[in-house]
Amino acid sequence: MVPLSWYLALSAVLFTIGVVGVLIQRNAIVLFMCIELMLNAVNLTLVAFSRFMGDVTGQLFVFIVMTVAAAEAAVGLAIIISLFRTRETLNVDEADLLKL
């Protein structure tokens, strides 16, 4: 059996890569993908703890996190579409005003 700390280390690395992506990327769609990456890294932690503690609750949390991620992706991509319609760009630096 692979030790628990290996899973936690992998999860930490993936989460950190997601954070770095949010910092260095300017494309709104890729920012969303980095957020999905972070959510998945946390999911891995939850499933690993669920396995090592023999408790199903962690996997139920993952199920609900996936639902929230799906809702977030749908609404977020809709916002990106309407942003692109009004501004003709996906660069988040150029979308810094609420008014047009």
Binding site: M1, V2, P3, L4, S5, W6, L8, A9, A12, V13, L14, T16, I17, G18, V19, V20, G21, L23, I24, R26, N27, I29, V30, M33, C34, E36, L37, N40, N43, L44, V47, S50, R51, F52, M53, G54, V56, T57, Q59, L60, V62, F63, M66, T67, V68, A69, A70, A71, A73, A74, V75, L77, A78, I79, I81, S82, F84, L90, N91, E94
Partner: protein
């Protein structure tokens, strides 16, 4: 000896999936074209599904492939193709320093997490293995039935919200809004005119 061989195989599985996931995750953030980033994310999600299988979470692994790699990523790729954005250089790059800040922050965060992990022992895996559909359903429909129902409301709100946000405002809609506003302002005009009639 047999057990030893088994341990080695599971370690190899972990290392293969983990290294592929990390490489694909770097691919997400370093590519300039969003479609390549999307492919990187799909690879990460599939690798994580494989890791969920090594953790005996079959149901979550299946859901990961179906919902994440299937539905959510199709949505992403669809939007990328719908908007058809070419690689664009930003006209204003006011946050250039963030790129130089990101690498030290990355290393600091990794070091911090590894330091925390060092203090953590390695507990033995629990003998009872959750992860079957049966055990998940037992928890979901007994203790966690309220959060489960709440997610359905959340999904409904997401459907309505995303339809409203992504809808194109057509000329007819604008006209409808105009007439509705006029109708709301109408009563005062009618009163005035009726008063005038009385005076006449």
């Amino acid at each position: 000896m047999e057990q030893f061989a088994q341990i080695q195989v599971s370690h190899l599985f972990f290392l293969a999936f983990a290294s592929l996931a990390v490489v694909a995750a770097f691919n997400i953030i370093l590519q300039r074209n969003p479609i390549y980033s999307a492919i990187g994310l799909i690879v990460v999600l599939c690798c994580l599904a494989g890791l969920f299988l090594t953790l005996a979470a079959q149901f979550i692994a299946a859901i990961q492939i179906i919902v994440y790699a299937g539905a959510i990523m199709v949505l992403f790729v669809f939007v990328i193709m719908l908007l058809n954005v070419r690689e664009e250089e930003s006209k204003i790059d006011r946050q250039k320093y963030l790129k130089f800040l990101a690498v030290p922050l990355f290393l600091a965060l990794i070091a911090e997490v590894m330091a925390v992990l060092k203090t953590l022992g390695n507990p033995p895996a629990s003998p009872n293995i959750p992860g079957t559909v049966e055990s998940l359903a037992e928890g979901m429909f007994s203790i966690y039935v309220l959060p489960f129902e709440a997610t359905s409301v959340l999904i409904l709100m997401a459907i309505v919200g995303s339809m409203l946000l992504a809808r194109r405002e057509s000329k007819e809609d604008a006209d409808d809004i105009e007439t509705a506003l006029n109708a709301a302002n109408e009563p005062t005009a009618i009163e005035e005119s009726s008063e005038e009639e009385v005076h006449a």
